[in-house]
Symmetry: C2
Subunit: 340 residues, 2 copies
């Protein structure tokens, strides 16, 4: 399977690490031989028809700051669009940083890759939150697989789990804590910290970005909610359909008041007819009331009950594993078995 | 798809209710047309090559206490073995009560059905806990599908979720609260009740059986653990491989002591090399520390973190939905698509 990988940050590098550790096992378990024919980062690309050596690509990044320093295969300055034009491949993987403003440059790359009939995997919430219905239509029209398991919940198989909950049944409501940073801040505020103090701590622990506004203002949660609404409930929604209120206005007194009533305040995203993100009071013994940087998503079904999945929801190696899960589905599709 | 159903208790009846409500939808969504050619209960059977009417079967059970009262199709006194000999079918569904002593009569029925090359679905922990490795081998040898989604967690897609967690990754440890009755009792004891009082309450609420010893002594948890060990970790275990300690010896002081330390005692089944069921102290904010009759199972993976699934874990309609999920997999297999 010939792969073009765009984005060589924590997730992209973790993917190459895992693949190099497990290449034999992937062949044995899934008949899947992964050949990275091009990797692109901000400094340029490394290209090899026969497949790049994962360890050499990682070393080039570590020593020279870009994969374009790969000996003999480096192409400084070249970008993903030219790579898609020039390199023969089966799969495009987008591991670029999220941009919720216009989804670029990922959105353009994804459209081009799908149009060129490459199976496409992204972990990037930006283009999905802004245009998932259009991208799905395009993929269907072109007859290729479009997967994005890592875009919600990091390594947690949230979307796959939801598909299982809907099998022979129907998911009627989705609600969840989809952002670890805000959940960490809310938990620490409950424990007595002020908002700024809790935020600083989240940043020190590496949960929050330097610009944490996407988390705090609820946009990250909203983006993931849009993805779940499309995938799980078949609602053709985009980011502008979500009513969003973040946690920046919360003060300690509200949190104290909830605590006295055996409740806790969490930033909950909910699809229930409409899409809404807002600080919400829930009972402390609700399984959704997870603490610190955890995520939790509840799927209410028609017949089989309310199923909740809980986990860490972030991390490079975790998200890279989600990409691997998507690659296995692509492999199944290419082998004629259909996807699940 | 021609089905023989053995067992017409809460789960079997719920299955027929759901199928009669959703027959058109099942055709539309999965191309699956379900024809019950025989239903067997203690009083005998109802048989029809053209398919029984689910509502008439339910009515016969309600009015006459047995499906053998089905007008024109009733065969009082006939048993499952004769039905398997005489009736042409594609799928055998076992919804009989659990017997953890020797798994009978289900074990004999399952072996016969598989040997006759019927795809086989069971929700019955008895034969699985005692002989899952042998049954799986037999099904593989005969080239049929053997599924048992409803045997663990009721309607929660626990086994399917575990498969997703293992996709491109490896599950290295499983631990969980797999029995709602004991979890209800432990929660109520934490709230101040004595063991006998909490047990009586669980019985009144319909959680515990009249003979609750299988729950209390940990055997029900152990049976489910065996199923997960086989399915998720590939360990060829049976019930006798499990070290089991139930909750009957627990006293209020131990529970009080745990509480003072921010911990809680839960009956945890764990596969981690060996298989063990025992009352275990966990932190109150561990996502596994669910309350009342809830179930929770944690899958620790090598690369993608610790994923936890939480839900009600019991109920007739819920478990019947799990059977439907298995039927969809059988349908996929029959259509040549392989199972997932």
């Amino acid at each position: 399977m010939r792969i073009v990988l765009a984005g060589f940050g924590v997730v992209g590098r973790s993917l190459l690490e895992i693949v190099s550790e497990q290449s034999e096992e992937l062949v044995r378990r899934y008949g899947m031989s992964l050949r990275f024919v091009a990797i692109v980062d901000k400094g340029g690309a490394a290209v090899s028809e026969n497949g790049l050596n994962p360890l050499k690509a990682l070393e080039s990044k570590r020593l020279k700051g870009t994969v374009a320093g790969y000996p003999g295969c480096g192409k400084p300055g070249i970008d993903t669009l030219s790579i898609l034009d020039d390199v023969e491949a089966d799969v495009f993987i987008d591991a670029l940083p999220t941009n919720l403003r216009d989804g670029e440059p990922s959105y353009t790359y994804l459209k081009k890759a799908i149009t060129m009939r490459l199976h496409t995997i992204t972990v990037n919430k930006g283009p999905l939150a802004l245009a998932l219905p259009a991208l799905k239509e395009l993929a269907e029209y072109r007859g290729v697989v479009l997967r994005f398991s890592g875009s919600v919940g990091g390594g947690m198989p949230v979307i796959e789990f939801a598909r299982q909950c809907a099998m022979g049944d129907r998911v009627v409501r989705v609600e969840g804590i989809l952002n670890g940073t805000t959940n960490y801040i809310l938990t620490r505020m409950e424990e007595g910290l002020g908002f700024q103090e809790a935020l600083r701590e989240a940043q020190e622990k590496g949960y929050a970005e330097r610009d944490p506004s996407l988390d705090i203002k609820g946009y990250d949660t909203a983006a993931k909610l849009v993805i779940l609404a499309n995938e799980v409930l078949g609602i053709r929604a985009t980011l502008e359909d979500v009513e969003i209120r973040g946690i920046e206005g919360l003060d300690g007194r509200e949190i104290e008041d909830a605590k006295r009533r055996g409740e806790t305040i969490r930033l909950i995203g909910k699809v229930d007819g409409g899409l809404r993100v807002e600080p919400t009071r829930i009972k402390v013994d609700d399984p959704l009331a997870v603490r610190y940087a955890m995520n939790a998503v509840a799927f209410q079904t028609e017949n089989s009950g309310r199923h909740i999945i809980t986990g860490r929801g972030a991390g490079g190696r975790e998200t890279a594993t989600a990409i691997l899960r998507d690659l296995i589905q692509v492999k199944k599709f290419m082998a004629g078995g259909g996807v699940t």
